[in-house]
Amino acid sequence: MDSQTLAAQTAETPHGHEGEHPPFLRHHFESVPQQREAATFGMWLFLLTEIMFFGGLFCAYLIYRNWYYPAFVAGSHTLHIWAGTTNTTVLIISSFTMAMGVHAAETRMRKSLVTWCILTIILGCAFLGIKAYEWHDEWVEQHVPGLNFSPESFLHGSEAYPDDKLPLDMAEKTQVYYSLYFAMTGMHALHMIIGVSLLTLLVIRAYGGAYTTGHVNPVENFGLYWHFVDIVWIFLFPLLYLISRHQ
């Protein structure tokens, strides 16, 4: 066959070779399990780059928390524990719903798959909503470095934590804490937004039956991405919200 004819072929065109294969098996793979393994391997490699990406931010956090610990304590105390624990709970439940979605794709249950994915989208949006509220709150409190930061509230200590009174130079260092807070939760939120958008596309195709005829891999690999974003938050929560809450 010449290249013109080959290019004009679609998945549905009967094309001559010995074995029948499902339309989602690409021609550069020998079998569906091999295609699945290769794609999952690729997804994991991408997640490794993400580990290194967030890893850099965590390393910066590690160093600055050691250098300016009192500033980090005072900064952490201004975050809302209820918001952090609610968001963590929301994300853990969304990981559960996503895993159930993968299960539905594996057991070829189209309506279940759509339902679980829609639940995951709703939970993801709930997380983003609470995050938006928190960010707005930090802006109101004048804790945004480079925008409206004022060390005023750290010079006097707060009602709940009277020991959080800092000298001016350490009070200025809370900007480092807030920079890391906005950078890390902002990057995480960006990943959530991308995830929710991709999942919306997946849900539309899942509704059409694309993932319940044996082509589980896209749902599986998206699940890997979603769980990874959950894991990043699992570390962000104690490191940002729970610094020395016992005072």
Partner: protein, 112 residues
């Protein structure tokens, strides 16, 4: 061209894994465990353990991560290739942290 005969890789190959569908019960148990650990880490942060607060918080976070990786991400039921890929990711992350920290700790700035 024996496409039909090589549909599944041989058990000795690193890309081989059993086609295993994880049951929803497992997901429920792991999900519940994660929620319990979240409550634990929040509660423990209100107890004064000195410098062990950070250690306990990180230990709980690592436990949660392990549960998510092994069960939600199916790594426990995956091929050797996948397991090695995940392990190499953690290894490289440790290298990132350790090499950066040895650099900073060995500077005479008086911070450490």
């Amino acid at each position: 061209m024996d496409i039909q005969h090589e549909l599944h890789s041989h058990p000795s190959e690193p890309t081989h894994h059993e086609e295993h569908i994880v049951s929803p019960k497992v997901y429920l148990v792991i999900g519940a465990a994660l929620l319990v650990l979240t409550a634990t880490t929040t509660g423990v942060s209100y107890i004064d353990l000195g410098s062990f607060n950070a250690v306990v918080a990180l230990a709980i976070a690592c436990t949660k991560m392990t549960l998510v990786v092994l069960f939600f991400m199916h790594v426990k039921y995956s091929s050797k290739l996948t397991m090695m890929t995940v392990a190499s990711g953690f290894f490289t992350f440790i290298v990132l942290i350790m090499m950066t920290m040895t650099d900073y700790i060995s500077r005479a700035w008086g911070r450490w």
